[in-house]
């Protein structure tokens, strides 16, 4: 029987809340503290906590390494793509005002897109680095510590 019953039960309850909090930080970033960086790291922390409690193989089933690899580049692509989109609409790179009829709405859309790119990139890179290091360890028992 696994000795970490309490850890498992508590983290099963906590991990969805941590992920939810990450999205709150992401999408409430316009109004309160937070944004893509913070949300990305919190989301990655949820995945890493899952990997710590249930094992890295279970985490890789939930968040496959290929998805992590794609997410890394997708984030940069979304950010850069927003800049290219404003280019194509006739403005400067990352000048969001042209994304909508009302310039302030354009700013909102631009910030939303850019923060989404940051979220993807940061969360994926954090999980990727954790996978890279974590997969190098053979399984540990409690006595190893």
């Amino acid at each position: 029987m696994n000795p970490h019953v309490i850890l498992r039960v508590v983290s099963k309850f906590l991990i969805p809340l941590i992920a939810l909090f990450a999205f709150y930080v992401q999408f409430h970033g316009d109004f309160g503290p937070g944004g893509g960086f913070q949300a990305g790291v919190i989301l990655a922390a949820a995945v890493i906590l899952y990997a710590l409690i249930f094992g890295i193989d279970a985490a890789k089933k939930a968040v496959p390494p290929s998805a992590v690899r794609i997410g890394m580049s997708l984030g940069v692509l979304i950010y850069g793509g927003t800049g290219v989109a404003t280019w194509l609409l006739g403005a400067n790179f990352l000048e969001y005002g042209v994304l909508a009829h009302d310039p302030s709405h354009g700013q909102h859309y631009g910030i939303l897109a850019v923060e989404l790119g940051v979220l993807f990139s940061v969360a994926s890179v954090m999980v990727a680095i954790f996978y890279a290091f974590g997969s190098r360890q053979p399984d540990l028992t409690d006595e190893d510590w």
Binding site: V25, G29, D30, F31, G32, P33, G34, G35, G36, F37, Q38, V41, I42, A44, A45, I48, L52, I56, D57, P65, V68, R69, M72, S73, G75, V76, Y79, G80, G83, L94, Y96, P103, S104, Q107, H108, G110, I111, V114, E115, G117, V118, S121, V122, S124, V125, M126, A128, I129, F130, Y131, A132, F133, G134, S135, R136, Q137, P138, D139, L140, W145
Partner: protein, 241 residues
């Protein structure tokens, strides 16, 4: 009457100093990594008391959360105890620390008071951003406006830096931790690419049997080690395709 925030600040600062001295005096790397997490969390608490909530968020999540885990997983591939360094070789670092500390104390009187209206942080573009955000961007959080819109290029650069860092780690270590053939010896126990959980799934051998095999025969006998390694590299290819 002393303001309560000042008491809190002093208490947090004192705890930071205590944790820093505890880290310096310790030899067990596991405890040091944990105390570094504590240090980051205290920093985050202090940032909140300075009203820098965005920074506090980042510090708590990156400093106390993710980097602690990364340090732990790096430690597991190295030794768990740091070796004591003889006094003679510590003199240079102590000198550097003392001189830097003295210079910082010397600079303190020149700093503007916390929250001073004419401090450089509040005087030039900072004020401008605060004035213009409400008209131009229509969002209440000036930090987000500066980060994503006014300083969008900087943030793009940061994202690319993070991406490059992740890419570098993946190129060196591989996403599944088994890029190439490698060997580490944490605490005198051999760990190699053939012993990974991903490699075991292919060979069907348990960690213990491999660990025994490798620790009893140092250097490990070639014929024994070669076979699982070959299958491990197969597993690597399979995992990547």
């Amino acid at each position: 009457m002393i303001p309560s925030v000042l008491i809190l600040d002093i208490a947090i600062m004192a705890m930071l100093v205590v944790v820093a001295f505890a880290i310096v005096r310790m030899r067990s790397l596991f405890a040091i990594v944990m105390l570094q997490g504590v240090y980051s969390l205290l920093c985050a608490a202090w940032f909140v008391s300075l009203d820098a909530v965005d920074v506090a968020f980042t510090e708590a999540a990156v400093g106390a959360g993710v980097s602690t885990i990364l340090m732990l997983s790096a430690m597991l591939l190295a030794d768990r105890q740091s070796k004591p360094i003889e006094m003679r070789r510590q003199l240079g670092p102590i000198l550097v620390v003392l001189v830097t500390g003295a210079a910082l104390f010397y600079a303190i009187p020149d700093m503007p008071a916390f929250g001073a209206a004419n401090s450089p942080a509040n005087a030039y573009v900072g004020m401008d951003y605060i004035d213009r955000t409400a008209d131009e961007i229509h969002i209440p959080n000036v930090v987000t406006a500066v980060l994503a819109s006014y300083r969008g290029f900087d943030t793009f650069g940061e994202v690319v830096v993070i991406f490059a860092a992740g890419l570098g780690v993946l190129l060196l270590l591989g996403l599944n931790g088994n890029a190439g053939k490698w060997r580490a010896r944490p605490n005198g126990v051999n760990v190699s690419s053939a012993m990974l959980p991903s490699a075991q799934a292919a060979t069907g051998e348990s960690v213990e049997s491999l660990a025994n095999k490798q620790s009893t025969e140092i250097p490990p006998a070639k014929p024994n080690a070669a076979k699982p390694k070959k299958e491990a590299s197969k597993a690597t290819k399979g995992g990547r395709s």
